[in-house]
């Protein structure tokens, strides 16, 4: 049997899984619930301060890493989940999910470079 090329995508999935496990809950809590519900100061998401924050080189790298790992982790897992749901058109499924992940990564890269 031929050795698989899965390690490429799996290493992204695994790294992303670890990263998201640490980071995503608290990020959702802050941006999706804390600030919108007024539990955290509204200034946190104020245009000027967010822009300044994002324009810092380290933040750019961190945000790119976050998006990159998160979407590739999700894309790979969803590909398998689609199979678990009984969808056998693996090539189509893989193209859609990996395609979405690639587009998201690309847009994030462009925006973060130009902002």
């Amino acid at each position: 049997m031929k050795r698989s090329h899965k390690p490429i995508i799996w290493s992204l999935f695994a790294a992303g899984g670890t990263f998201t496990a640490f980071m995503i809950p608290v990020m959702i809590l802050i941006t999706g619930l804390g600030v919108p519900l007024g539990l955290l100061p509204a200034q946190t998401l104020d245009y000027e301060s967010v822009l300044a924050f994002v324009q810092h080189p380290l933040t750019r790298i961190a945000l790119f890493g976050t998006i990159f790992l998160t979407v590739w982790h999700a894309a790979h897992r969803l590909r398998i989940t689609a199979h678990d749901f009984g969808i056998r058109a693996d090539r189509v499924v893989a193209t859609i999910f990996y395609g979405l992940a690639a587009i998201t990564t690309l847009v994030a890269l462009v925006v973060l470079a130009l902002i």
């Binding site: 049997m1 050795r3 698989s4 390690p7 290493s11 678990d84």
Partner: protein
């Protein structure tokens, strides 16, 4: 103690007489210290001699009395009547073709087991005079857990990936491959990787973890497969960086 009467619904199949399997019910007076296998033996001796099932050791060592008990892959010699309700459903092991009654066809599993070369492949064969292959307790500890597998195939019955793709090499075989790969006396990893690191090997596993949950000896095939994935990923990138290197 008076025996408790338990209703056993057993999936029967005799290819000589039946087109497809059907349930048959037996009422068995069970002693509370019985296991399900004792109840089956009671049926065989007293109620219906045509019932077929495999068993041998009656002490969870031989791995031949595997079956579905109330939907759970279980060794019938380790399933105690005292833990069961008054109605028990018994079926042949999931994910295997039924040969007859509770007996399933294991050819596929045995072929897969063989395909991962589940034996020591030493660097060089030692003669009798040269003595044994030594190993330290620390080296033994690395893989000892995986030696406890009794090939009962409960993990295959629990694995949804095997259910959906019979070509998947499967939990027990991959765990056993890992066991030999971790053995300090073995150098067969490269040879095994052709099967282990293929798309139908470790990469077919989605880490449901059901295999480890049903294992009667606490072997952790799911863990073994994840460890193998990490190691194989390392291999893959090393091969990219240093093509032609010897692993």
């Amino acid at each position: 103690m008076t025996p408790r009467r338990i209703e056993f619904e057993i999936l029967r199949y005799d290819p000589d007489k039946m087109q497809k399997p059907e349930f048959q019910t037996y009422l068995v007076p069970c002693e509370e210290d019985w296991v399900v296998l004792d109840a089956l033996n009671y049926i065989k001796d007293e109620l219906d001699r045509t019932l077929s099932y495999r068993w041998s050791c009656h002490m969870a060592v031989c791995g031949s009395c595997s079956m579905m008990i109330n939907g759970e892959p279980t060794l019938s010699c380790k399933s105690f009547v005292r833990d069961l309700p008054n109605q028990v459903c018994i079926e042949p092991l999931n994910n295997f073709p039924i040969e007859r009654d509770l007996v399933v066809v294991l050819d596929d599993f045995l072929g897969k087991l063989n395909s991962v070369k589940p034996y020591l492949i030493p660097r060089e064969k030692k003669s009798l005079e040269e003595g044994v292959y030594l190993q330290s307790p620390a080296q033994l500890k690395k893989f000892k857990q995986f030696t406890l597998c009794i090939n009962c195939t409960l993990c295959y019955a629990a694995c949804p990936q095997y259910a959906h793709d019979e070509n998947f090499v499967g939990p027990a075989a991959l765990a056993l491959a890992h066991r030999y790969n971790l053995d300090s006396r073995d150098v067969g990893r490269t040879a095994r990787q052709d099967v282990v690191a293929s798309n139908l090997g470790i990469w077919e596993c989605s880490f449901v973890g059901a295999c480890s949950e049903v294992c009667p000896h606490g072997v952790d095939p799911a863990g073994a497969i994840q460890q193998a994935k990490i190691a194989s990923t390392g291999d893959y990138f090393m091969d990219l960086i240093l093509p032609g290197r010897k692993s």
